[in-house]
């Protein structure tokens, strides 16, 4: 396998074979482990999202071919679950927990503050691709409410002001260290609000 693909290029699956992008090997491994069973679609989508950060069209076509499933079936499953994202995510992301305990402790005000400050609706990415604002159903850390996850780091007992300043610092930091090409952050806890 040629191990030097360009990272930025969208993966392309030709005739059911990976383009050479090593990330496809991860998917192939999962497919093999699950014996190409159609029932394994969700597991395969999990692997794909983990490897690529989001589910591009070509990726869905590749998975559908490998599992011998109709395209609309695969698309239907991928869009049913909020975990799967069909669009690329921002360089930085902030997931605000909107579970009951956090809501009671006014997490909605944090979301509103972030929306106002960065001009982005929950579930969306800023036009410059720098920042994605997401909300989650419940991160199960109710004792620490309100909770949010900034680039995979759990922050407890936040206020609108503290969150805005932390996100601002994060974005400024990114601008300064843009050189090393920040990869798409893969937070441990993520529930992506659908389109």
């Amino acid at each position: 396998m040629p191990p030097t693909p360009t990272k930025e290029r969208t993966p392309r699956a030709e005739k059911g074979h990976p383009s050479g992008d090593p990330r496809f090997q991860l998917i192939d491994r999962t497919l093999k482990r699950l014996q190409y069973q159609q029932d394994a679609l969700i597991e395969v989508l999990h692997t794909a999202q983990e490897a690529f950060g989001f589910l591009a069209e070509d990726l869905l076509i590749y998975i559908a071919r490998q599992l011998k499933l109709p395209l609309s079936w695969v698309y239907g499953v991928a869009t049913f679950y909020h975990f799967f994202s069909l669009k690329p995510q921002g360089e930085h992301n902030c997931i605000v927990c909107m579970g009951t305990a956090c809501y009671v402790k006014r997490a909605a005000e944090i979301v509103a503050a972030l929306q106002a400050e960065f001009g982005v609706e929950a579930g969306h990415t800023t036009p410059d691709g720098k920042f994605t604002l997401l909300t989650a159903r419940c991160l199960g850390s109710c004792g620490l409410a309100p909770v949010l996850v900034l680039d995979g780091e759990v922050l407890a007992r936040e206020t609108p002001e503290s969150t805005v300043s932390k996100v601002r610092a994060r974005l400024a930091g990114a601008a300064a260290t843009n050189g090393h090409g920040a990869s798409v952050a893969q937070p441990a806890l993520q529930e992506v609000e659908a389109v």
Binding site: P70, S72, Y75, G76, T79, F80, A194, V195
Partner: protein, 247 residues
């Protein structure tokens, strides 16, 4: 096949084991509204219009999918059921932009007809007025999502009868939408055979023939009977002791 007896609206009815309540009700001439159900397609139980009361249980059951059981006693038109059916129709009309006056199926639409039959003459809920596209990229057909009630007859006929599975549903909840292939323009779908079965089974004007204008569209479902009868008799299956291909 065992014969069973049950009571429908205080009247004794006999049927065969495995019959659904809806089958027996229709045999008796008892009409309840249905939208997602279509004879010949797998049952779904999604529209909830055919709900009936079963005595001894406070849960309402969909007649289209509930098998008749010996000794069952059901009521099909209680005040509560009529009220709920009306409300469900109101909800359907409020969900998308059902402007009958400018619809290709005006006068022949099942949704419109059910509303008239039940006397649902106005909707008390907010009209949600979502912004929904019309896809006319297919050479012969078009889909107007404003008229779609998500009954999934198109999905089922495409999968179960045509065998193409071009259609499916994307998203969830009120944001669900029927899609072709990867949510791409219908005209670019690789799996669509352009057979038109989906268009014919659609209860509203959501799927229609291009070129038809207000109140011009007619739908013909005879094909379903022919195909399914043939399939049942195995007319098109090689008699090599092989397996039945249908589901």
């Amino acid at each position: 096949m065992a014969v069973i007896t049950l009571t429908i609206n205080d009247e004794l009815v006999s049927g065969r084991e495995g019959d659904t309540l809806l089958t027996l009700m229709r045999e008796k001439g008892i009409e309840v509204p249905t939208l997602c159900h279509l004879d010949g397609l797998s049952p779904r139980g999604g529209c909830r219009l055919c709900l009936v009361e079963v005595q001894g249980s406070n849960r309402l059951v969909p007649a289209c999918i509930t098998p008749a059981q010996e000794g069952m006693s059901i009521v099909t038109h209680s005040e509560r059921l009529i009220k709920y059916r009306r409300m469900i129709l109101e909800l359907l009309f409020s969900e998308r932009n059902h402007i009958c006056a400018v619809c290709v199926m005006n006068g022949r639409c099942e949704l419109q007809a059910e509303a008239a039959a039940i006397g649902m003459d106005h909707v008390r809920y907010d009209y949600l007025t979502p912004q929904l596209p019309i896809d006319a990229s297919h050479q012969r057909f078009a889909v107007d999502h404003n008229r779609c009630i998500l009954c999934t007859r198109c999905v089922r006929v495409c999968d179960e009868v045509e065998g193409a599975h071009t259609w499916d549903v994307m998203g969830r909840g009120v944001n669900s939408r029927v899609i072709t292939d990867l949510n791409q323009p219908w005209g670019t779908s690789k799996s669509c055979t352009s057979c038109g079965k989906c268009v014919q089974v659609c209860p509203t004007g959501a799927l229609h023939l291009k070129g038809s204008t207000v109140a011009e569209m007619r739908k013909d479902r005879d094909f379903l009977r022919w195909i399914l009868d043939g399939r049942e008799k195995k007319q098109w299956i090689l008699r090599n002791g092989g397996q039945e291909s249908g589901r």
